[in-house]
């Protein structure tokens, strides 16, 4: 008769498992990647020079030069003032003649509302710092997000992110995110 095998002690199992656990605890990074989401325009073959006719008052021109200075609508501007200016441009509450036109549009939940035809145009120099560029983009996105949030609060008494999908779509139609990134011209 063979001898009975002695039982394997399981007391140290917990210690081994703990060691593995601590290893994974330490190496795990829980951070989710996040960033500014944008859509690039479709590639078009060069030299068509299609001048899309957009009236001067409908464009909000933001230029960033190589020293990271901002020129907004031909005015030297600090980056902290950019958000307010962009909001004023997109909202145009007083129907100012120098700010963009509006056209009536049928939007669900709201009925017929005046929707702005404004476009934000952002161009930069080849030597602009990427950090500045992102800061400017961030301010422009923030301006539109704030407008949407204000509208959501006044209409639905909720913040924009808490709304139903259809309601968000409706608000997006009233305040579209139209930020166009012009291709930088080569310095002469």
């Amino acid at each position: 008769m063979s001898k009975k095998m002695p039982e394997v002690p399981a007391a140290s199992l917990a210690d081994i498992a703990f060691m593995l656990l601590i290893f994974f605890l330490v190496t795990t990074t829980m951070d989710v990647d996040s960033g500014l989401e944008r859509r690039l325009p479709q590639w078009v073959e060069e030299k068509q020079d299609e001048q899309v006719d957009v009236k001067e008052r409908n464009i909000f021109v933001v230029l960033v030069n190589r020293n990271n200075d901002l020129l907004v609508e031909n005015e030297w501007t600090n980056i902290s003032e950019l958000r307010e200016k962009a909001k004023e441009f997109m909202a145009n509450p007083a129907d100012d003649a120098s700010l963009p036109e509006k056209e009536p549009k049928e939007v669900p939940f709201f009925g017929e509302v005046m929707v702005t035809k404004g476009v934000i145009s952002l161009s930069n120099d080849l030597d602009t710092k990427y950090g500045t560029y992102i800061a400017v983009q961030n301010e422009l996105v923030a301006a539109i997000n704030e407008l949407r949030d204000e509208l959501a609060k006044s209409k639905f008494q909720k913040s924009y992110s808490d709304l139903e999908n259809e309601q968000q779509d409706a608000i997006r139609e009233i305040y579209p995110s139209r930020i166009s990134e012009a291709e930088p011209r080569k310095r002469n």
């Binding site: 917990a14 498992a17 960033g35 690039l40 590639w43 923030a142």
Partner: protein, 155 residues
Amino acid sequence: MSKFKKSSNKELPPISTASLPDIVFMLLFFFMVTTTMREVTLNVRVKLPTATELSKLEKKSLVSFIYIGEPLRQYQSKFGIAPRIQLADQFASVSDISNFIIAEREARDEAERPRMIVSLKVDENTKMGIVTEVKQELRKAAALHINYSSRKPAQ
């Protein structure tokens, strides 16, 4: 005689630790499953810019990364200190991007391809020139959905 008189001679039995390994294993499996190991080793230094209007990259499997920044110290003798592009594990030039995008697209499921996102991890001190070239290449490769990776500003 009180009803709650302590039985003085009885000792508390020791708590059984037999189920401790099971509990620990459960935690261990949780962390093993949720952990994502860093897939690429960075050859360039990337300090992300800060932004407040962030949106999260929910599905990791849809995202391809492009890194731009100064090469790390040990590569500087070979590649210089000018910002360089890193695709997957190696340095690349602007013209490699379209092939990279095609390869990344091939690696995805058919259903996922239209929803592919390219995340640009660019150092905040990089000049826009190289970023713009990369963007033009992405447009040519029809990878239009991009994400400028940035971090929350510290309080």
